[in-house]
């Protein structure tokens, strides 16, 4: 049993093409990959919105002044 179809390299390399595991499931892998990408944007978008809303009300005037002076 082998996940990429080869159990030995005793082969003519001219006859070898893809060697990655789970060949035949490429479309499924793309669907999982796209979901991961879109999901990441969603998570980041929500978190940033919450963070900025919270940050609007957290600025201590004295500390902000110090930050401004630091340039």
């Amino acid at each position: 049993m082998s996940t990429n179809g080869y159990t030995s390299w005793a082969v003519d390399l001219a006859e070898v093409g893809p060697v990655y595991p789970f060949q035949g499931y490429e479309v499924l892998m793309v669907i999982i990959g796209v979901a991961f990408w879109i999901g990441w944007h969603r998570i980041q978008f929500v978190r940033e919105g919450e963070h900025l809303e919270k940050a609007r009300h957290t600025g201590d005037e004295e500390k902000v002044k110090i930050q401004l002076e630091r340039y």
């Binding site: 390399l13 001219a14 070898v16 093409g17 893809p18 060697v19 990655y20 060949q23 490429e26 479309v27 892998m29 793309v30 990959g33 796209v34 991961f36 990408w37 944007h41 980041q44 978008f45 940033e48 919105g49 963070h51 900025l52 809303e53 940050a55 609007r56 009300h57 957290t58 600025g59 201590d60 500390k63 902000v64 930050q67 401004l68 630091r70 340039y71």
Partner: protein, 457 residues
């Protein structure tokens, strides 16, 4: 791989592109350093993170659909349909887009284009620092990096692209296909985004917002220069036979070519890269009266201006064209800033956008009548084709999509950070936590010291 010569050529070519990719990584390092150096201390980590995350987001989307666009779109939509046959081998589920002993080149060729995608997105990132939401910029990064620039590459930076065939469009080292489009896109975004707080006085006079760390800026731009070497090499096919080109070239002399498979040499682009860098630096020094950062940026703008024709120019032509471009870019930047109250934080619109546009226009005159391709029936290089190409790159595929998306983001309130946060700084929470943690540990250490002191007595 059948035959040793074929095998050696393939191995050399894949290694060649692989090395260019490593070099081009330095462009991104340089952009990150430049942006962080230009931003103020209260925004450093946010600025850095904003640019770093361009890398994974553009990479995965360029894998999912960007690379396929390049191969499927050369004549789409007005000059033919999608080239599904060429596109098929570059779909994300194709077995050639993976570990495959029967295809040893697609991955490195994909990566060479991908690094251009990062650059396009990173150019936009620099102009919007200190006030854009990361989530908004990252959507723009995906759109410019994996959609718009690669459409322009299919049209005007592909040996079969309709712009090359019909217009005689020539853009060997990407004055338009990377720089004009990215600068135009950035202009569209900053028009909607607005300037940083304090950038303009009440009477509209622009204020200089000096870099927080000029040395980081300097190293950044020198790293961009360095990476640009890799960029230039990546724009060439390193070695190919006339038989493989299958065009009008006769004889059996193998050659390096530009992206259109028209002949050039590595020697030519080395001459011209350095001479256009020099022309840009010298002109920028004079026109900016020795301003360090405009001088450094002028070197870059000089290369970008000459890039469209740097496969063919004489080195002195490259130098003069670079110098002319830099003077136009410098004057135009300050006129636009005053006239339209636009805050291009790192001069990206000018250095990339205006320089790329001007470079295309100049090359149309200097290379007038020169063949754009080794294939029969293609238009030769001409001013109308280059000016049309410049408009397509800067306005149609750059400015317009950037402006429309930014307008939508602005309308739903997800483009710009709140004013309070801009003032206190995007890193306020981190700084706050850092200062509190620092104060707490200093107090604890002092307490420990005092206790030990008492014990010792």
């Amino acid at each position: 791989m059948d035959g040793n010569l074929n095998a050696l050529t393939t191995v050399f070519t894949e290694f060649y592109y692989w090395v260019t990719v490593v070099f081009m990584f330095l462009i991104h390092v340089g952009f990150c350093m430049y942006e962080v150096g230009a931003s103020r201390a209260r925004n450093h980590m946010h600025t850095l993170m904003k640019n770093i995350m361009i890398i994974p987001l553009v990479t995965v989307t360029f894998f999912f659909f960007g690379w396929w666009i390049y191969w499927a779109f050369p004549n789409f939509p007005f000059w033919g349909g999608l080239d599904t046959e060429a596109g098929a081998a570059n779909l994300p589920w194709a077995d050639t887009m993976a570990t495959n002993l029967d295809d040893r080149i697609t991955g490195v060729f994909w990566a060479a284009f991908l690094l251009f995608s990062w650059t396009a997105a990173s150019i936009v990132s620099g102009s919007v620092i200190e006030r854009i939401r990361s989530s908004a910029l990252w959507v723009h990064a995906v759109m410019i990096g994996s959609v718009w620039w690669i459409i322009d590459a299919a049209w005007g930076w592909h040996y079969g692209g309709w712009m090359v065939r019909v217009l005689g469009y020539h853009d060997a080292y990407a004055s338009g296909v990377i720089h004009a489009i990215a600068g135009g896109y950035a202009l569209g975004v900053i028009m909607v985004l607005g300037p940083r707080l304090g950038k303009f006085a009440k009477d509209g006079t622009p204020r200089d917002i000096p870099p927080h760390n000029p040395w980081l800026l300097t190293i950044g731009i020198f790293l961009i220069y360095t990476g640009f070497w890799g960029f230039y090499a990546a724009c060439n096919v390193p070695v190919i036979s006339p038989e493989a080109i299958d065009g009008q070239i006769t004889g059996v002399t193998w050659t390096a070519t530009n992206i259109y498979l028209a002949p050039t040499t590595l020697s030519a682009i080395t001459f011209n890269f350095l001479m256009s860098l020099s022309g840009g630096l010298m002109a920028a020094y004079v026109v900016s009266k020795g301003d360090a950062f405009w001088t450094f940026s002028g070197g870059l703008a000089g290369i970008i201006t000459a890039s469209a024709g740097n496969d063919l120019y004489h080195p002195i032509q490259a130098m003069i064209i670079a110098a002319i471009g830099v003077v136009i870019v410098y004057k135009l930047h300050h006129w636009v800033e005053r006239r339209f109250k636009l805050d291009d934080a790192v001069g990206a619109v000018a250095v990339h956008g205006y320089a790329g546009f001007v470079g295309l226009v100049i090359s149309g005159f200097v290379l007038w009548g020169v063949p754009s391709s080794p294939y029969e029936g293609y238009a030769t290089i001409n001013p109308v084709g280059q000016i049309t190409g410049a408009v397509i790159m800067f306005f149609v595929l750059g400015f317009l999509p950037g402006w429309v998306l930014a307008k939508i983001q602005s309308a739903v309130g997800v483009l710009r950070i709140p004013e309070e946060v801009e003032l206190q700084g995007l890193d306020y929470a981190e700084h706050h936590a850092y200062e509190d943690a620092k104060a707490a540990i200093i107090a604890a250490d002092k307490e420990e010291l005092a206790t030990r002191g008492v014990a010792a007595k």
